[in-house]
Symmetry: C2
Subunit: 419 residues, 2 copies
Amino acid sequence: MQKEAIVATYRIETAIPLEQAAEMIAGEQSSGTFLPVPGETEELKAKARAKVLEITPLETVSTPSLPGSKQPDVNAVRQQAEIRIAFPQDNVGANIPTLLATVCGNLYELAEHSGCKLIDLELPDVFARRYPGPQFGVEGTRKLAGVHDRPIIGTIVKPSVGLSPEQTAALVRELGEAGIDFVKDDELMANPPHSPLKERVNCVMREINDLAERTGRKVMYAVNISDEVDEMFRHHDHVLAAGGTCVMVSLNHVGFAGVSALRAGCELPIHGHRNGWGMFNRHPMLGIEFTAYQKLWRAIGVDHLHVNGLQNKFCEPDESVLRSLKSLQEPMWSGYHAMPVISSGQWGGQAPETLRLGGTQDVIYVAGGGIMAHPGGPAAGLRGIQQAWEAATAGIALDEYAKQHTELRQALEKFGGRR
Amino acid sequence: MQKEAIVATYRIETAIPLEQAAEMIAGEQSSGTFLPVPGETEELKAKARAKVLEITPLETVSTPSLPGSKQPDVNAVRQQAEIRIAFPQDNVGANIPTLLATVCGNLYELAEHSGCKLIDLELPDVFARRYPGPQFGVEGTRKLAGVHDRPIIGTIVKPSVGLSPEQTAALVRELGEAGIDFVKDDELMANPPHSPLKERVNCVMREINDLAERTGRKVMYAVNISDEVDEMFRHHDHVLAAGGTCVMVSLNHVGFAGVSALRAGCELPIHGHRNGWGMFNRHPMLGIEFTAYQKLWRAIGVDHLHVNGLQNKFCEPDESVLRSLKSLQEPMWSGYHAMPVISSGQWGGQAPETLRLGGTQDVIYVAGGGIMAHPGGPAAGLRGIQQAWEAATAGIALDEYAKQHTELRQALEKFGGRR
């Protein structure tokens, strides 16, 4: 069964009996509907109806997590549960938009549920035959960036918007001279009138290419090409022609089919930015968990995927960040490895825990303020982060390592109160 | 200012002072970031920083609507408010994915907010120059369907999945003979192995074309072409060649750039299905309101857009359905009219209130069970719905009209308990 089925795991909350609640999801998203219809024969159900595989009761709650549930008794106790449902592959085909119509679809609007979140997805091999997966992944990205045996350390051009192409290039030059591996546009900066993408790429790549000639190492610049499909290709081609080595897209706003179309003709690593993600995941009983989400983007073929960072400045707790980081390391068919991007409030101090709990240094570690606001300037900020990772890898406490490493010591003094 | 600005209206909830909370959104999504950065000069801020236009305090709440807010005092009272923020058009350009990175982006993850929902958007004219809007809209759809001066009445092929192409065609023939105007695939049914789209379209269109030759009226069949971009075009071309008059897409799962790419080469009305919408809108303090959402899809050029229906079977209250229905009638540039699709639990009984409160009969009115489960069969179900709309338009009470109209009377007897 499982080989031929799409298996979805949900966290649900309901005041009706769990078996009934789970069957409702299975029915609504396969051959059933609200009312019995004449065509839903036993024969049709046998091949097309989704099957409830497992129901694990969790906590009970006295107030509904989401509004809108039409329960007979408003004071009824709500039961939370984890359920697993198998959808026949034959209902869907290898078609990600329709997979989502099936495993998400109308489920979030069911009045009998006061909570529904897609937690995980098991995809049959037919998706691997249809979807190419990452073209570069960890290995290809490391090769292009020329960074091995340690995280790729990067930063975001800030201010996010407002700098001219020349100002952006001057900043990238400064960071490149300081030894940065990776620079990205902010998600707010794509192709606006005040910094047209072509002009910005020309200005920035001139500096990056010049530096590469002198040092033999080319800074990877993730150019935000987010736009309509034709424009993304025009931007991609320009980045490629200018010697660039990475393009970035806002995954949730370009969307699945748009990114998939880009992947089909893309010759550079795709840096997948997940801005807007809070809408999918902030509420524990609504939306999609990263574990399911990342599989879709890995199938489509994104090479880098944002996972936030430990002790970040947003609302996401560390355990959620670690779960995301771990999920990207789970095997998925063969070769579908996307590189995690760690960012938000990072300054190096999180390196030991990121390595110890996250279990990998195959990450792109992006720091903004941690580099730019370092008391010794950007070069010192970068050096401090490199030193933090050296210490983490060698298993030496940061305080200890800082005794011999000035930049790390300065970083600890400035940012260390946050640990 | 407004002409050159993108204005976003939000509902927010926070324990920090409202001015500070609003400025945080304006800063984070324009030239600011968590820490002051050297490049954010006064000159840059003057042109690039978003401006808070208006703050309207609403209720206070004692428990946060969303988890994850890192407030100093967990017992602090949270203030809800509606705020309006103007983002300089020059920051974004006419680029919908980047518009969303700007007006949504990281906002849902701000730890200082325990609620954030995008309520409305005002888009400057530069978007009208870039995005084509609906190609057919109300007028073009009516012309193709041959239905004027009353709603287009339709149904969904059920069971959603499991029927063979031949079985689907037989059902459509039956509905067509009964006088249906419009039939759509379920969102679960796109191009699966058990009902390949080409074969299904061939079978169904044979019946529809045959009926059209006999009656002069062609049933509009919204074929679910949701898939990757290339496949959507292949499907579209096949529908067109077979004489079909509509294609359907799952908007949220194909995504903005994918649907936009389709629109650029599409020769048929695009039926926009919003399944997955609950994730965006079920929570009152998270996500996007339909008022903002529909403007994006109208700009991109979707011809039909689902709004749910009064007394629906999902969790959405009537006031929200009506707000959506009204929002689609609001003028948007010139000619960007998309036709509302009313569905879920409809059987005709909702017609008077839909017309009176919704203010229009320029709708596609889709009933499943209300047609298929009518005691007199599908033809009678359809006739009952037509009669309900006749009564509504003439201002006659349904009970009164039912005295002379058997099918409506039967519908009232079977489904009327729900009113």
